[in-house]
Amino acid sequence: MSPLVSFRRVSARLGHKDILHDLSFDLAAGETLVLLGRSGSGKTTALKMVNGLLLPSAGEVLIECVSTTAWDLIRLRRRIGYVIQEAGLFPHFTVAANVGLVPRLEGSPSRDIDRRVQDLLTQIGLPPAQFATRYPRELSGGQRQRVGIARALAANPPFLLLDEPFGALDPVTRVELQHMFIDLRDTLGKTALLVTHDVREALLLGNRIGVLHNGRLVFLGGRSEFLKAQDEEVRAFHTCLEETWKDSI
């Protein structure tokens, strides 16, 4: 089966700065790949290349075997669920309007949208009777992020992009949402590319982990390979794990 997403020797330049250098990897349908890296490692840039928010300065990004430069970007983006830190909800839309946005843009009948929104809100644990008519400012950070996830799922896209989706949450809420995400992803069979700087999140959510360092992919492999890898940057992330473990004794 051909990969859903394929980076072929992708480089990105912003001004005189190389953000990504010669990045190549594939993402198969049904898998979750986590890109792990420090701030400024280029992981968000890589993510934005997938839905054409950024285009490569060299190489190409193929989605379903078609280069992002050849895709109708509006159509491509509506096929990809997008979740960012702080959710990026529309402050002037109710929860229901936020969740129903992409189906509405796609011209679904409003009765179908209503039903879809109800189902999704129930699925993410926000009872529609109580939450549908609220505005984002009337929600907690965790609730907003749940709505962000529901919105990304609304048009039933095969593929999700998540940029530090749980980064701004308190640790307890973060773990709750991580598990909710795993459940949803597995029940709905979504493919996902997730970006994080949290090594534990990478190990929890990723089928495979890619480590970006200064715009280069220095490691790509499964969990156990990750834990055995000897690359300097990967070992720097190992240290985070050991440090936490030492603390907890």
């Binding site: 983006r77 509506r78 997008y82 843009l105 992009l161």
Partner: protein
């Protein structure tokens, strides 16, 4: 005598409102779309804002005077006054439209684009609604200023409440001065309150 004065106040107030209403409608119809365009074509910002800025700095009496000899735009009468008032009102509306739209939270704009909104949908569904408050504030500032500046229109035969003020000045008649100044001040306060209410009412957040 006093009933004649009352009738004059009423007529000139209407004329004043007409001057302000027409000028503000034209200024808004020009400045809001141009302001939107400037958010899309950043390189034009310097030129357009520069022009509007210079217009604002020309003393108002002089601007009315400069316009008189110009063909089409100038001459004596209401339309010259309206041209001058429009030129004055442009800057606050333009600047607030620009600030309002550019002030939309970048993460909100980015997620709108990432959700697959077209440029038009982004503008109409996200940027303009979220900028409404700022744009209306610009309109409010421009309107209140225009109500005051419009009194000078009488100097070039534009009519309005300025007629009383200039007549009062010429004949050193305080009653006439007040007959022009007090209604103008009332209109300004009413417009300020009214537009403030509208701002609250229309603001989506």
């Amino acid at each position: 005598m006093s009933s004649m004065l009352a009738q004059d106040i009423f007529d000139l107030t209407l004329e004043h409102l007409y001057l302000v209403g027409v000028s503000m409608s034209i200024a808004a119809a020009l400045a809001i779309p141009v302001g939107i365009l400037l958010t899309r074509r950043r390189f034009l910002q310097g030129w357009v804002l520069g022009f509007a800025n210079v217009m604002q700095t020309v003393p108002s009496l002089a601007l009315f005077g400069f316009l008189i000899p110009l063909p089409f735009l100038g001459g004596i009468g209401k339309h010259t006054a309206i041209v001058a008032l429009v030129l004055y009102a442009l800057l606050p509306i333009l600047r607030n439209t620009l600030t309002g739209i550019l002030g939309v939270d970048p993460t909100v704009r980015e997620s709108a684009i990432a959700m697959g909104m077209t440029g038009r949908q982004l503008l109409l569904e996200v940027e303009l609604p979220l900028a409404t408050r700022t744009i209306l504030a610009g309109l409010r500032i421009a309107t209140v200023t225009t109500i005051g500046t419009a009194t000078i229109a009488a100097a070039i035969g534009g009519g309005g409440l300025g007629v009383f003020i200039f007549r009062g000045l010429a004949s050193v008649d305080t009653t006439l001065l007040l007959a022009g100044a007090v209604p103008a001040a009332f209109i300004a306060v009413a417009a300020d309150r009214g537009l403030e209410w509208l701002e609250q009412k229309l603001s989506p957040v």
